[in-house]
Symmetry: C2
Subunit: 392 residues, 2 copies
């Protein structure tokens, strides 16, 4: 499967530091290093959480002072969040080690894992050294695997634009809430593009992809999306091809966002919530988000219960001014509510929900023409198990 390592001029390496505090043997790599052969134009989107992890702060600073970026270093197993001054020093040290070992600069940095533990720098350094040694030998799956925490599969995506390409990796399964950004995602492309234009396109697409998913409504301290564009394809993005590029990037990021929800902690089903007929896109988003966040809707999906009352109650709790008699609600192709309870066989809808990996809930507000789609997953026993046991 193609991904970030298949984009011209990008090399991936991974290493095993054993960063996570655990009694179990270290079973997979936990450091990822991505290098561009030539410095790349870069854009990023970060968590808007007041409490930002040290690597987020360090990378934000790099973005503000550096014209181009040459590499990314990331670790799983420890978020380096709420770690004070020492955390900032450690994140900077990760950058410096990479710059020294590769001879390339500047680097940006990201971390994911448990909050509040100091980074075990000796082990981080061991992992980085290994990762740098393997640069160019690791494929996208291996790259994505190195940043997994409670993820059960690596998340990669690729867009072949003919003369150019876009590849990405992402991680995330819990603490996923779309208020602004996502967990970690790194995207690479070989186009030549203006920095401001790249940031503009990235921000717009994040809004419709990573910012339109939720697993549990918990916003992370470490959410980060980076994109690097190294220009090595010699394809220059301008008016004539900007749409093609944006479309490709949208596909890559939508795929990664979908994979995060599919791997939502404990999830057995993806739920696609489509809100149509809204007055504004913002109204559609608000209503869709309320449905996506509702534990009652999410447990009903787990139970394959077409409990439309909970969906409509959640929609109304957005308080955007919707009216019962104007609503049409579908689950799959079944109309359950149309200004009032519709005729349908409960058994048929149950069967659809039981047999589908992706449940489509479509609510038309009957007010206007705007729409928004949100992705979430069901809420299951395993979500509780994973998170009641995550640390202890």
């Amino acid at each position: 499967m193609k991904g970030i390592s298949d984009v011209k001029g990008f090399l991936c390496g991974t290493g095993r530091g054993g960063i996570k505090k655990t009694d179990k043997p270290v079973e997979r790599d936990d450091v990822l290093v991505i290098v561009s052969e030539v410095p790349a134009v870069a854009a990023g989107v970060f968590t808007q959480n007041d409490i930002k992890a040290a690597p987020v702060k360090v990378s934000m600073k790099q973005f503000s002072v550096c014209e181009k970026i040459s590499g990314i270093v990331a670790n799983s197993g420890n978020a380096n969040a709420c770690t004070g001054e020492q955390g900032l020093k450690d994140a900077e040290k990760m950058v410096n080690i990479c710059e020294d070992l590769t001879g390339k600069k500047p680097f940006i940095v990201a971390s994911t894992g448990v909050i509040g533990e100091p980074l075990p720098m000796d082990r981080v350094e061991k992992g980085i050294k290994e990762a740098v040694k393997t640069l160019g030998t690791k494929n996208s799956i291996e790259a994505a695997t190195a940043i997994m925490t409670t993820d059960t599969f690596p998340k990669v995506a690729f867009f072949d634009g003919g003369e150019f390409s876009i590849g990405g990796v992402a991680k995330g399964a819990g603490m996923i809430d779309p208020a602004m950004a996502t967990m970690l995602s790194f995207v690479a492309t070989d186009v030549e593009i203006d920095k401001n234009l790249l940031q503009e396109i990235l921000t717009e697409i994040v809004d419709e992809t990573f910012n339109a998913i939720t697993v549990d409504g918990d916003m992370s301290t470490n959410d980060t999306v980076f994109i690097l564009a190294n220009g090595m394809s010699k394809v220059k993005i301008a008016d004539s091809n900007v749409e093609l590029f944006a479309e490709g990037l949208r596909k890559v990021m939508a795929s990664l966002a979908y994979q995060i929800v599919k791997d939502g902690e404990g999830a057995t089903k993806v739920v696609r919530i489509v809100v149509e007929g809204a007055l504004t896109k913002e109204e559609a988003r608000k209503v869709a988000r309320k449905i996506a966040l509702s534990p009652l809707v999410k447990t009903a999906v787990f139970g394959c219960d077409p409990n439309w009352g909970r969906i409509i109650a959640a929609a109304g709790s957005a308080c955007t001014g919707i009216e019962e008699k104007a609503l049409e609600l579908k689950i799959g192709d079944f109309v359950l509510f149309k200004g009032g309870r519709a005729e349908y066989r409960e058994e048929d809808v149950y069967r659809y929900m039981k047999d589908s990996d992706e449940i489509v809930i479509k609510l038309n507000l009957g007010k206007g023409k705007e729409r928004f789609e949100y992705l979430t997953c069901d809420l299951t026993y395993d979500y509780v198990r994973i998170n009641a046991e995550y640390r202890t």
Copy 2:
């Protein structure tokens, strides 16, 4: 245990209609009728959900057109929500039946249970008839039991003000979110009080009690709080004793709100979230609410895991402008974070969490002097079980 039936001039009756659609035998009463011997001044607070249940609409109308209220009729087993015109007719019919049978008027009405099913009016009527026949013979526990759905215990509270008294019942275990109101709560008092003053006091106290709890972040379509004041104690509430009355009402409502959280679906522990040192009460409320809603915090409490990183991450997601280095976080009496990780023995905090029915999480923002308390419960396997199985 004293409650609503012990307030001078208030009579309770309950009946068994068998309203809930179920194959199991009807095991408890599901209709509650409360009558005041003389017409009472009344105040109410209702859900702000766009989608309001029929009884909410009917009672709101009664409040707007009637000077005084003589009785309340309520049923469990069916919410009469999303039931269109027929639902409104059914709610009005419940009112009319009560008025005819008791010779008192006007009545207000409330329903709780499954959303979207038409009310089985023959069974509702049967229940009301029984309830009216038993008026004056049922105590507060029996009254509270008749409005239970997934509740596991009846919720009653009483305040003895010497010459006057206040008694209340409530129900609620799931679909509890504090955006504006709660599930059902009926409070009776024998004071003589101006209607506007009563509404003002009620609204203020609801804000600090029922609006400061959450079980699952799902706002109901049926949330309703009624208070009736029939004046039969001859105690007139004026400037000299308004504080005493408000204090009594606050105690009754705080007790009922606490009981709802304690009975939160699947809950094993109550979590009291105290946010202090905020610039404004609104900031304290926002931060407390984010912590209270976080599934990651709630599952960590279930696992007795003092995972303070999740608490701080949730606090920061309120985006009110808090700073890591100004924060102090305590669980029970243990300081876990004070501008950085504090010294504590994880085992001690685990033991406190394991052994306590109520966990106190106290976060000082280090910005100002305002505070707000929020109550929530842990998120457990049983929450998932109850809600994946509730209907089907």
